[in-house]
Each structure stands twice: as structure tokens, then as C-alpha cells.
């Protein structure tokens, strides 16, 4: 476990170490937002940034993980392998989202990059050290740590919706809230970095049902533009 960590530190700390957290895009929206200046100095020292290429994994289901990761660029899908070997998409991570809130001998899922992405890594043992000097850091992390739990909550709410239209539209609105951007009056640009099959799988729908539903939402004007990697929603 320490070997794995050492490698990742070597790989990712060296080139980007100098980068200041001041320039971080996601600082305002991620767990760092809660840190005071003194805590922040510590965190900045121990944090490492790492690039994850498309299709590479950040953490692997069943394997130990001892770091907290914040997505600073790009996106990930969370996967679980079901009993018979099939994969289930259980969620997506975007800028500002994080995983690995507790260190574990067995990660509950795999996080795989949907595009070339970067994350900040906070090894838990450093976070423990900081906690000695700045008590409360961990508590605040854990307080925000519900986000992982919220992902599961979002998912179960989506899966509980009884029409395909509701399910798809709620999904798009959820993504819109996280990474959507206004794109002119009454237009909301929503990136979809994941393949359609992942969306269908996540929503418990067949690909054909998803395609048909997206087409019908486009037809009735709730989706203004429908492209492979984004939609424009009527705001």
C-alpha cells in the first residue's frame, strides 16, 4: 500500500508540485473551501496533483485505497462489478467532486476517467498529521464527505422515477447543476462526457429506450440541441 502511494507521489508530485492552490478552478466548490488559511498552508504542502488519462483508473474496486481525491479537471465514472462479472455504472464524478473519503482495504467501486482528467491527492496519513496541528480538518472533510453518500442517494432517486422521460430529464438536470453552463438566454449547455451506454446503464434503461427518450425530448423542445457529447437544455 505504501509502495503504491510512493509511486503515485513520484509520478505526479514532481512536475505539478509547484502549482499554487490559489489558481485552482475548483477551490471554491470543493472540500478545500472549508479550510482556514493555516490549515490550507498544510494542505498545500502535502497535496499532490495527478493526471489520469482517459480510461485509466483512479481507484479499483476491491483494492485498498488510502487517499482522498478531488477532481480538478475532467470526469470519471464509478463502476461496480456485479456478481456475474457484468459492470454497473453507479455514478459520475465531475470537477469539485471527490472520492475516497475514508481509507479502506477494499474500495467499494472503481473510478475510471471518461476523458483526460486531473485530481488532487490527499493521502489520509498526511491528513491525520495535519489534524494534530489543526484539529478539525478531518471532521470538516468528513462532514462534506457525505457527497459520496449523496451520489448514491441521487442514483436511487433517479432509479425510483417511473417514466423514462422523468429519469432522463432528471439526470440531465443533475449534470446541469454540477457542470452545466448558461449558453445564451434560456439555454443551458450540459456536457455529457460519458458514452450513451453508460447513461443507459446508470439509469437502468435499455440503450434504445434512452435514444428514443432523448429524441422525444428534443422533439418537444425541452432539449434544444442534442449532440454526442453535450445537450443544450431549455432553461
Amino acid at each position: 500500500m505504501s509502495e503504491r502511494l510512493a509511486t503515485s507521489e513520484k509520478q505526479c508530485m514532481a512536475p505539478e508540485r509547484a502549482k499554487s492552490c490559489d489558481l485552482c478552478d475548483v477551490r471554491g466548490s470543493s472540500i478545500c473551501a472549508d479550510l482556514g488559511p493555516r490549515e490550507f498552508t498544510h494542505v498545500e504542502k502535502t497535496m499532490a496533483r495527478r493526471k489520469i488519462s482517459r480510461n485509466k483508473t483512479l481507484m479499483v474496486e476491491g483494492e485498498p485505497n488510502d487517499a482522498l481525491y478531488i477532481v480538478v479537471d475532467g470526469s470519471f465514472r464509478l463502476l461496480k462489478v456485479l456478481e456475474d462479472g457484468r459492470r454497473q455504472v453507479t455514478g459520475f464524478l465531475f470537477k469539485g467532486d471527490f472520492v475516497g473519503v475514508r481509507s479502506t482495504d477494499e474500495s467499494a467501486y472503481t473510478a475510471e476517467a471518461l476523458e483526460d482528467s486531473s485530481v488532487c491527492i490527499f493521502p489520509h496519513r498526511y491528513l491525520d498529521e495535519i489534524a494534530i496541528d489543526a484539529p478539525g480538518v478531518k471532521d470538516r472533510l468528513i462532514a462534506r464527505g457525505q457527497t459520496e453518500y449523496h451520489k448514491a442517494q441521487d442514483h436511487i432517486v433517479l432509479l425510483g422515477k417511473k417514466t423514462a422521460e422523468e429519469r432522463v430529464l432528471s439526470f440531465l438536470q443533475l449534470i446541469s447543476k454540477t457542470i452545466g453552463a448558461d449558453d445564451g438566454p434560456d439555454r443551458r449547455h450540459v456536457p455529457l462526457p460519458m458514452p450513451r451506454q453508460d447513461i443507459a446503464d446508470y439509469l437502468g434503461l435499455r440503450l434504445e429506450t434512452l435514444s428514443r427518450t432523448l429524441a422525444s425530448l428534443k422533439q418537444d423542445g425541452r432539449i434544444l440541441e442534442l449532440a454526442r457529447h453535450f445537450v443544450v437544455l431549455a432553461a
Partner: protein, 451 residues
């Protein structure tokens, strides 16, 4: 079969598709119990769905299923409506939890329904329980009801496993059981399945039917092997006319004697194994590259209400009249009659009529019995520990007798079924079952012969 095993031929044993057997379900279990267990299902907990279609066009005289001959299709439409409502009710109780790994349509005759109705049921499953392109869809088919284009439509709906009720190819046997279907009919159904890429075709065969002889059955098996299904299930016909009045239509005097029954089972075993099939449990055969055979080799074989399966889900949800669900140590069986089933659904209630909440003791016994049936071997220490001293002594006595006859061997607490005694697996399971007081031939008239 060894001479000293002949005495087990007349033994009647439960099929142990569940433990305790569905005959022990009682009316204490209610829809509220079922609903509660459903609400405890985990977010990504694998689910196996069973959808029961009770209608048939004609009556087969051997049938032991919950079915009815129906000539008015509007009644089937009404049933599908209720079924879809039940699926929605279960979906509401699950509230987004659970992931269906497989959906199996059984009967009766699932292809009594037209493809549009089957598509509508799948849509209800998709919206209420979730259905993805990787969910395995399987269906039992009556070859006589397959119309042009049906197989292709089912294929495009995503059905990748199709099971044909063949029973026997011999015309005289078919006449005696009132199920007449030509070889050409089966041949063309299989051809159509292969053409559209179905790579998991299963045949059901029955031995112990009227007029069956070693010659006729050999011919049926030769035809089976020629059509090369991926799986074959060889069931012994269960003649229980007292419990199943329709079986009285069948001429009892034409039934093969116990000895012949055993020889027919042996013949099927020999011919299928020679043809390259792998033995799965005590009555299934599969080509070595079939998922069922792979599950057996990897020790992942399971037993559910359909028989031996590679489906890994612990939770089975059954839909439709008489369907049985198994969730979190609970068995819940739906009302059997259509009228009762409709009454429940109409009042927006789950249709549970009977069932059982398993005690830890029953769960342990069930687990060990499934081990013996699926892996031919089990450590019986937990079972013995769960029994009262008197019961444990009785189980020990029955096992000793089986060991003396070479049916099983024991090493410490591990009981292993002798490889050639695979057909007697249910007798061994019954020896472990404290509720089956005796393995004597006169016991348990409600059950079918073990062989």
C-alpha cells in the same frame, strides 16, 4: 445403477428447488412481510426476476404446473395488465433499489402471449425495476405456438436464452401425453434460433412417460443430440394424480415401471455425456462452453425454482399467479387462482397468499442441502449443530445406511455423493432433511419419485 441402489427407485423425494418445500408454505406470511423485505433490498443488489404466464392453448396430461387452457386472448390481455400493475407495485416497494440481472418467462406457456404483450411486460420491468441491455432475458417456448417471425421478434427484444418443451420425439408417446409436435417443428424452431444468433438453446426432456421404451427414448435422444441444443434438462415425470387431477387423463397402465424409469434416466445420461455434454446437478446437461457448465466447473452452480442455474442472484422476485419470490430469508408465493390474484392487484396490494419466514435453522439446512445438490459434497457440521439430538441421530442413521450402500462417502463431517450415484442426490438431500422422517417408499406420497 448398482443392484443395492434399486431399492431407492421407489423413494419419493421433494425436488428441493426450495427448502423448505413450497408444500410447507403457510398462510401466515402476508404481503406486508413481502413488502417489508422488498424495502430492505440494497441499492445494487442483484435480482433475478421470474414472470409466470399461466395460459396454454392445450392441456398436456403430464403437466404439474399452475396453468389453464385459455382460448380467449382478451383474458391474457387482462392478465398482462395485472402483471404490469404488480411489477409497478413491487417497483414502488423497492423504490429504486435492486438491479435485475435476469428476467425469465415461464409457464404455462409464455409464448401463448404475442410479442407485443411480452414487449409491454419488459417495458414495465424497465420502468419499475430497471432493465439494461446486459440483463439476460430467457423464455420457455411451446414449439407448437411459434408463428413465423416470433423467434426473430423475441431475439430483437433481447431474448438470448430460449427453452423448448420437447419432452419426447416419439409420436406414440406424444399422443399418450396429448402433446403432438413433429420433429420438423422443433428442427425449424432451432434453425431459426441459430439463424438469429441465439447461442443458448435448451431442451426439456421427460422420462417415465407412457409408452416410453429404451428404443423409443434412444431415438428421441439421438434426435436431441442431432439438433445439438446447448443445454438439456432431463426430468423424471412426476405422476401425482391425487394432487393433480389432470394427470388422471393419462393412461396409468402405460407408465414404465420403476426399473425402466431408472434405465431411461441412465440411457439419457450415457448418451448425452457421450455426445459431449457435461452433467450439471442431477438432471441437467450442458455443452462445456455453456454458462451453466462453466458455473458448475467454477463451483458457482445454484438451484432455484427453475432448477439448476448459473444465476448468481440471492433474491428472486416472482410475478404473476402462483409465482414465488425469495428475498432476505422469506419465501412469498402469490395467489394461485387468477380471481384471487386479480383481487389483490385491483386493491393495489402485493399478491402474496402463502409463504414462509425461514428460521436460522431452516436457512442452515437449506444451505447444506443445496451444497449437496449443486456440488455433490457438503460439510454437514453446521446442519448437525442446528438439529436436536434426536433429529441428528436420525440423520446420522440415514447417512450411515446410504454410506453402507456406497451412495455416499463421508470423511469427518464432509459428505460426498458417489459420482455414479448422482441420480440419487435427492435421496441424500432427504436423508439430511429432518422433516422427512423416513426414506421408505411409502413415505411422502405428495412427492414424485426420486429417480
Amino acid at each position: 445403477m448398482r443392484p443395492q441402489w434399486r431399492k431407492y427407485l421407489g423413494v419419493r423425494a421433494p425436488r428441493y428447488t426450495s427448502y423448505p418445500s413450497a408444500l410447507r408454505f403457510d398462510g401466515q406470511t402476508t404481503s406486508a412481510d413481502y413488502r417489508k423485505r422488498l424495502s430492505e433490498v440494497g441499492l445494487y443488489e442483484p435480482l433475478s426476476l421470474y414472470i409466470h404466464i399461466p395460459f396454454c392453448r392445450r392441456m398436456c396430461w403430464y403437466c404439474g404446473c399452475n396453468m389453464r387452457v385459455e382460448n380467449d386472448y382478451s383474458r391474457a390481455l387482462r392478465y398482462v395488465e395485472a402483471l404490469n400493475e404488480e411489477i409497478a407495485l413491487v417497483g414502488r416497494a423497492l423504490a429504486g433499489a435492486g438491479r435485475p440481472l435476469s428476467v425469465h418467462f415461464g409457464g404455462g406457456t409464455p409464448n401463448y402471449l404475442k410479442t407485443d404483450e411480452i414487449a409491454a411486460i419488459l417495458e414495465a420491468v424497465e420502468l419499475s425495476l430497471g432493465l439494461t441491455d446486459s440483463t439476460r432475458l430467457s423464455i420457455e417456448l411451446d414449439p407448437r405456438l411459434i408463428a413465423d417471425g416470433d423467434i426473430e421478434s423475441l431475439g430483437s427484444l433481447g431474448f438470448s436464452r430460449m427453452s423448448l418443451g420437447v419432452q419426447d420425439f416419439d409420436p406414440a408417446v406424444q399422443a399418450a401425453i396429448n402433446r403432438i409436435q413433429s420433429f420438423d417443428l422443433i428442427d425449424s424452431a432451432v434453425g431459426e434460433m441459430r439463424r438469429i444468433g441465439v447461442d443458448d438453446i435448451s431442451f426439456d426432456l421427460l422420462y417415465g412417460l407412457p409408452l416410453q421404451t429404451l428404443d423409443t427414448f434412444e431415438e428421441s435422444l439421438t434426435k436431441t443430440v442431432a439438433l445439438a441444443p446447448d443445454r438439456v434438462a432431463v426430468f423424471g415425470y412426476a405422476h401425482l394424480p391425487a394432487a393433480l387431477p389432470r394427470q388422471r387423463l393419462l393412461d396409468e397402465s402405460l407408465l414404465p415401471a420403476d426399473e425402466l424409469r431408472a434405465d431411461l434416466a441412465d440411457l439419457a445420461d450415457r448418451m448425452l455425456v457421450e455426445a459431449g455434454y457435461r452433467r450439471i446437478g442431477f438432471d441437467h446437461y450442458a455443452k462445456p462452453d455453456n454458462p451453466l457448465a462453466r458455473a458448475e466447473m467454477d463451483g458457482r452452480l445454484r438451484r432455484n425454482f427453475q432448477g439448476f442455474t448459473d444465476d448468481p442472484a440471492d433474491t428472486t422476485l416472482g410475478f404473476g399467479a402462483s409465482a414465488i419470490s425469495q428475498v432476505g430469508g422469506l419465501y412469498a408465493q402469490n395467489a394461485k387462482s387468477l380471481a384471487d390474484y386479480y383481487d389483490c392487484i385491483r386493491s393495489f396490494d402485493l399478491a402474496t397468499a402463502r409463504g414462509l419466514i425461514l428460521s436460522p435453522r431452516e436457512q442452515t439446512i437449506g444451505r447444506i442441502i443445496r451444497e449437496i445438490l449443486c456440488r455433490s459434497k457438503a460439510d454437514i457440521a453446521p446442519l448437525m449443530a442446528a438439529l436436536a439430538p434426536k433429529e441428528a441421530a436420525a440423520v446420522r442413521g440415514r447417512l450411515d445406511a446410504l454410506e453402507a450402500d456406497g451412495v455416499i462417502s463421508t470423511q469427518g463431517d464432509t459428505v460426498a455423493l458417489a459420482p455414479e450415484a448422482r441420480a440419487l442426490a435427492r435421496v441424500v438431500a432427504m436423508a439430511l432433511d429432518p422433516d422427512e422422517k423416513s426414506g421408505a417408499p411409502e413415505a411422502g406420497r405428495a412427492f414424485a419419485r426420486a429417480v
